[in-house]
Amino acid sequence: MRLMRPGDWLVLATGLAATVATAASQWGQAAPARAQVRLDGRVVAELPLTGTHRVAVDGALARLGPTVIEVDAGRARVAADPGPRQYCVQQGWLSRAGSVAVCAPSHITLQLVGPGSTQDTVAF
């Protein structure tokens, strides 16, 4: 009896297809639709992720300068922030729905929002 028989190949192909299809449906990132800028939790700017634009937002450190948000072809970043440690600037470009850059000293967050809402975390 041969090791691999015709039906075996059929089952293997089906299994492989099922695995690839689940991976695509579960892990395929939904493209982010827009960038949301919040100051103290309130949405102060909402930018579509098409084209290129910059907005300046005055945060808690406005006396030192504005926080600059930049959008470029489907991604967004904090281009400048007056905060002392620059964490949100160094985070660089955000391109996945749900990702966030937090400029804590300025009380400003930049978040990419997808077509559907997502959870940050689920814990049990």
């Binding site: 039906g7 293997l12 299994g15 991976a23």
Partner: protein, 178 residues
Amino acid sequence: MDAHATSGASLLHIVPSERDRRLARYAVAAIAASLVEAAIPSPLPGVKPGLANIVILIVLARHGWRDAAWVSLLRVMAGSLLAGQFLAPGFFLAASGALASLAVLGALQAVSWRWLGPVGRSVAAAFAHIGAQLLLARLWLVPHDGLFNLAPVFFGAALLFGIVNGVVAARLLQENAA
């Protein structure tokens, strides 16, 4: 099982049949395989080689589905007792997986072994196994769809270990047939 009761005084004598002995031998092999496997650390609960299924496949090929079902269920019961998992969540997961793969193997018995060999049956059973476990875990243990994020990993493991177990079973069947 065949039990011959000879009522002498107040003595009940149960004589195991040849089939009983055979089933017990296979079940011991399957239980040993699952105990060995329990000692192997796994990066993700649920990703296991399922070595006991090699034994189940061999029994299926040689003695048919009913014997395979006996060995599989004995394996789940005795294996969980020995591992101290009886009636723990892991036991129900194992039992649901075993029942689902037995159901699939039973349905596939309608297909000729010339056309569908141990490898195909092993992969199909592995998918049924993990599918039922995922479903039970989703309904009972982790009531959130986030669980399905891991489905591709589980399916990939089912495919890989299904093939490996099927090939091992096929080789063992060939060797002993010759």
